[in-house]
Symmetry: C2
Subunit: 332 residues, 2 copies
Amino acid sequence: MTISPDHFLNELLGYQKTAALKAAIELDLFSALAAEDGDLGQVSERTGTSERGIRIVCDYLTVQGFLEKENGRHRITPSSQTFLTRASPAYMGGIIDFLASPEMISLWLADPASFVRKGGAEGLANIAPDNPIWVKFARAMVPFVAPIAATISTEIAGWPIQPKRVLDIAAGHGLFGISLAQAIPSLEVTAVDWPAVLTIACENASAAGVAKRYRTISGSAFDVDWGGGYDIVLLTNFLHHFDRATCINLLSRAHRAISTGGRVLAVEMVPNDDRVTPPFPAMFAYMMLGSTPSGDAYTASDLEDMGRQAGFSRILFKTAEPTPETLVWFET
Amino acid sequence: MTISPDHFLNELLGYQKTAALKAAIELDLFSALAAEDGDLGQVSERTGTSERGIRIVCDYLTVQGFLEKENGRHRITPSSQTFLTRASPAYMGGIIDFLASPEMISLWLADPASFVRKGGAEGLANIAPDNPIWVKFARAMVPFVAPIAATISTEIAGWPIQPKRVLDIAAGHGLFGISLAQAIPSLEVTAVDWPAVLTIACENASAAGVAKRYRTISGSAFDVDWGGGYDIVLLTNFLHHFDRATCINLLSRAHRAISTGGRVLAVEMVPNDDRVTPPFPAMFAYMMLGSTPSGDAYTASDLEDMGRQAGFSRILFKTAEPTPETLVWFET
């Protein structure tokens, strides 16, 4: 292995990569490059930017692997075409509104040593429930979760006995429940979340044509009555925000809320037991360290243990490829 | 090529990498891991941090390639040992004080689309000459430039006729001139920079035992009289802050300040003509876009052209390996 400071310098300047992608997406640069076939003069006109700025940022994005430069012309890569041009159905650029929001950036960069010292951060938990960041979150993360929601609803729609009542805890954008309601015509969803966020979920339910089968319960999942008799309780991207005891408590409540034969489905970032592979689930623990008081990325054995303590007898794992997430089924 | 959003997500979260390295260096985590042989309980005690925070950040730094994890124990890589433990003579951690300072981070992340639109940023130029950021810069960048300064002084000390008078424009930490004065006992250095920064240069000159041969001229290089009759004028990491016309003007002034047979030495990040290789010099243009009104990374043909317009007849390039910089000699 070569001994070199290059990797350190490159990663230390990570914030400049964030900035370049944020700028490119805000300016819709990838769409412009596709439309103008890499003619930077026209790209600069279309995006309302200086030729100098566009030239330098396109060279930088080439070094970073988002563009390719041949004979002086910048072309977008297939992955950039798929995920970063607005006309693409898989467009993901909108996640900058949450993942690269000033709120998130400040959580990490204001004093990063402090959350290592304390073992957690006040994080987003100290932001009021009606803060616009939660609306940003609900809107911005849709492209990331849509493929997982589709995988889940296809699977469940194929069951011999289809579920009728689904509870979606911390529904956010509502996509998991809405996708199920679209796949199963008789299914009713009850979504729990803060009022401002439920507005987004209801908008999405209307747009999906399932508003009549979409009920909401406003408030914190920790405070409101969940009701009972559900065939499925969804805990999607929720457990990782909390410590082990809180997760067991949530799973126990979910256990009490299901009907006989009902199940709980968690969607989680699940690292291997070594906790350093695969990369995204492994890095996710750090994302929770910087943005929650005591969240974590739980391994399969962590989740099995929590599930058993909450009264479940079978805990099944299924990767949600190509996404880095795992479906975790808790059965009685 | 696989079509995947992973690279986008990973680079978009670049600011979290900056944060992890900043935290690790502030906590002197790499030294602690070396001293405690990866025992995280003792590392957490030594660094005054929570075990949970240390565990998660060490797993993250493993995913990022700064540590290796085997049998549950984190060990530092040879590069981390060399550049990130404080006892190492090549320790480079201090550069976080400039490269990951709140001032720099804010330049990039406050509104990155704006500098692409405008083709430049007010940047550090709008920070007053006596701002502490310049002192941070002068102190923090020493480990980065020290190997280049050593290479240069070894080369010049081997010349058949040794230079006697050197002018160091925008001397900063002063390392280039000081290193020459150490290598050549009769050499006298005149350093130009803002007063607060010259304090650092003078400290460094004293520590190096060359204070008696170290003169200073306080003020902006654009305002003060440079004097004349120098054997060498140093323009190290300076030209890239300015547009082409300003560079020609600076080189012309340097030309007038040298004696017959004198030379000008610039140290620059010089990308290839394609402007996207090698990675560091290519990315450097973007660093100038975000932090200066009209700076750039100039190619060899750019620099040759500027040199000729300033009256030089020979312009010679020499890489300063293993650093990403290039020595550019301007000769009459």
